[in-house]
Symmetry: C2
Subunit: 512 residues, 2 copies
């Protein structure tokens, strides 16, 4: 089969046709002069060329999208990263940076003609400042490793994505990662203070800083969540928080999803910000209970898990207030974990919900959208309606406190057409989120996965500004091309454009 490679560079998403058509000999298709310069700039062992060596990098956590990278590089110094970027700029070669590859939206899906830049060897914690409560780390340091390194000093790093044992802080920065504790302690953007960044032309800039306000435009916030499209982060300063002296969890069971949803809104409206406020519906409860026997009521329509942390007296006072509120909102039972082992048992069901769902279905697809808390009940009902329309089952297990939904669509990739139907249902769910004033992402990013839905989320003016901003940092569009921000042409093809204050412009999108 003859493939027009020019299509790949310029298409704004990798089509299935292109995905299918690469055999694995792409390093050979790279410019030999470029490769030879790369091998001069980096030790030979840091440049992976054979298909077998490149295979482990062909996808991130969104494994439905696979693409063998042209070449994989594993630099271990700033100078080497700069050389890679300078060479890519000189030869117009696309670059995709990668942390641990645990991302769920395809942000690190490689480019077949490009360099996959793994930051795995940047794995040092450079310094910890106990007075300022900050740590300076390299991007390849694992999220949990930071908390482990400072635990003896009574400190921790707050954002805790489910993948925290494996994912790296560099990937967290790229995707603005969240987690259970982000309701109270914020996302990555609220917990990263400064970074050293290599730009596409090899220039190094330092952005952010340890002080509260920074002069100049806030490039730090723009970089966090930019999915590797503005530059490559080579050093990160994170904020460390004191470990709370006490944490307690309660579980409340409800006869209806709507009551549970309205209880969530009421807790936050009462001015209580729990350390975590999670919700699971019946399918998720049953799957988790069958898997780890967490003590969940299998006949409840929904449960809420609410963790409160702080001083003992503060936690006691808030526990009382939350319990009263939950009962007022119609909870049929409220159980406060009596001790640490019961607390861990309550959490075990939530923490194992994804693998638990994996046991009851050959495959599942995790959607990530965010909605205003007041719309929780309405949207959960809408999801269940859409699921019946598409003939698919959905289990809901999510960060209810910040309105961040994670519907898990159960499907069987062995059945022809079922994955496509699953993708279509996922897209409808995200559009539903947008239609109630929410967004198509909570914490997983856009990547390749949700690029069409960006056309629903944003209008032409906003997308144009995004492209202009991108061009400032990467005028030739070499950094992670085709991710995160769709072209206007793509949106026109997708035939959906613009939501204004919760109203969808396109008539075919679902309304509830």
């Amino acid at each position: 089969m003859v493939l027009d490679l020019s299509k790949v560079r310029h298409c704004d998403i990798l089509t299935q046709e292109i995905k299918d058509s690469f055999g694995g000999f792409l390093t050979e298709s790279l410019n030999p002069a470029f490769l030879s310069e790369l091998l001069t700039a980096l030790p030979e062992a840091a440049v992976l060329r054979s298909p077998d060596e490149r295979r482990p990098y062909e996808c991130d956590g969104l494994s439905a999208y696979r693409m063998l990278p042209g070449v994989v590089v594993l630099p271990d110094t700033l100078e080497q990263v700069r050389s890679v970027m300078e060479l890519c700029q000189a030869y117009s070669v696309p670059v995709v940076a990668r942390g641990a590859g645990t991302g769920l939206s395809g942000g690190a899906t490689p480019h077949p003609e490009g360099v996959l830049l793994s930051m795995a060897r940047f794995n040092q914690i450079l310094s910890v400042d106990l007075l300022a409560c900050t740590a300076r780390v390299q991007p390849g340091v694992r999220n949990l490793a930071i908390s482990e390194a400072v635990a003896a000093h009574g400190l921790y790093y707050a954002p805790d994505p489910s993948s925290q044992i494996a994912c790296t802080i560099g990937g967290n920065v790229a995707e603005n990662a969240g987690g259970v504790h982000c309701l109270k302690y914020g996302l990555t953007v609220h917990n990263v203070l400064a970074a050293e960044v290599v730009l596409m032309d090899g220039e190094v800039i330092e952005i952010g800083g340890e002080t509260l306000d920074q002069p100049g435009y806030d490039l730090m916030a723009a970089f966090i969540g930019s999915e590797g499209m503005l530059g490559v982060v080579t050093e990160i300063t994170v904020r460390l928080l004191p470990t709370p002296p006490t944490a307690k969890v309660l579980m409340a069971a409800f006869e209806s999803v709507e009551e549970a949803a309205s209880a969530v809104a009421d807790i936050i409206a009462a001015g209580i910000i729990p350390a975590g406020l999670e919700m699971m519906d019946t399918p998720a409860i049953i799957a988790a209970e069958d898997f780890v026997q967490a003590g969940y009521p299998r006949d409840a329509a929904a449960i809420l898990l609410c963790e409160l942390d702080g001083t003992q007296s503060e936690v006691d006072a808030e526990m009382e207030a939350v319990s009263a509120l939950l009962l007022e909102c119609g909870a049929r039972s409220v159980n406060i974990a009596r001790d640490e082992s019961e607390r861990e048992r309550f959490w075990s069901g939530r923490k194992n919900a994804f693998p638990a769902v994996g046991r009851i279905s050959p495959d599942y697809y995790c959607i990530d959208g965010t909605i205003p808390r007041r719309a929780l009940g309405e949207v959960l009902k809408g999801i269940s309606q859409l699921a019946s329309e598409y003939g698919l089952r959905v289990a809901n297990v999510f960060h209810a406190g910040d309105g961040n939904l994670h519907p898990l669509i159960l499907y069987d990739s062995g059945k022809p057409g079922e994955f496509e139907r699953t993708e279509a249902l996922g897209a409808k769910i995200l559009q539903l989120c947008v239609s109630v004033g929410g967004t198509i992402s909570g914490e997983h990013g856009i990547g390749l996965e949700k690029i069409d839905q960006m056309c629903v989320q944003f209008g032409q003016n906003e997308l144009e500004q995004f492209h202009l901003l991108k061009a400032v940092f990467d005028p030739n569009g070499l950094l992670n091309p085709g991710k995160a921000v769709p072209t206007l042409a793509r949106c026109a093809e997708f035939n959906a454009m613009h939501v204004h204050k919760g109203k969808l412009a396109h008539p075919e999108l679902p309304r509830f």
Copy 2:
């Protein structure tokens, strides 16, 4: 005197020569076709042309810098703002947006050939969402008016600049305003969720959103603190917080500034984030005490005021911990306000410190820099050394908890050369802040005032990125030209460039 107007447009700061040379007839110097189109787009009463009408707009809170604007417009609809921007773009006329004019760094100093765009008539609170704890407001709404409007619901808007009774939320967004409570509750950037913005070409974009994570690049953070150089904000969604049930304040007195400074660092390092942690030195204590009899010890080298808020039991527990820490750090006395009236008395000295200093000196100049807390003692000593070198007195009253210094330089504008010496001392103090790893701004912004110090703060790479980013939103450089980000040529003239990790590149800058 013949003035070369082309100089004004293209110079990157208004020189004294230019400042002195305008008489007040500049509206006449604007393009008549532009003026006539402006008068078609806006009601005649919304276009101020006579020198007397324009006079009140000639400066903001940095009143040492004055400039009569070419014309003042007071739009009251989005459509009118768009028309003003479109016309300015078409005729290449500079635009300076203005809130209440309380800014302290000259961010709203007018352009003599340009439009001063007052947002004063955008003064409506559009809606309050009690479930989401947010309010949608127009930019001309006063900071305090938001808290007043929602107080009955037990909510408030946290950032509290000293000028909060007068300053507007639009100006707060432009300068990323702070205040006493920002240590615990964050700056404007942490409390504003979304905005509607008119770009230089009249396009309207919506940035940010009420959900925790937003897809696309984080333009919201880039806009906050961009000093009106990227666009004009026409609507703002702010986060509201529940009013804490209890607040208590203590005052600790110290025999040395260094001990007080080290106590500040120790409190934060212990994991306690007070609602406010303020410090005053002897000159500030005496001035305040003479003015309002707050009960401060006139013979102390420094006092700390520490406010804790939360539930009663939480506040009690933290009060105890902080008191013990302060005594360990060498406080000679710790007084906890016994009741609300004593609490208000303790605060009255701090809140009136600026006018109190105004009573003992014909003029004072308020500097705004931020340093790592661990450097507090060292920098305060350095400031006092520099003050003697320059033969000027300095009173220190500042947000110690977040390292945000406000040295007040006392001077007499009647004495020839004293203001210039004051400006020079201020610059040295800011450079000292940078040399210990701090920044030249805490909460007042850069504006005209600190544009030279930006050359010390940032290197060429960072400044280039700032200019490129600016060009995305305003390719012709019409929005607030000459503010906030210096040209590289200017930095070369200033003969200082780049600080790398707290090390100043330029040998003449002060070192301690």
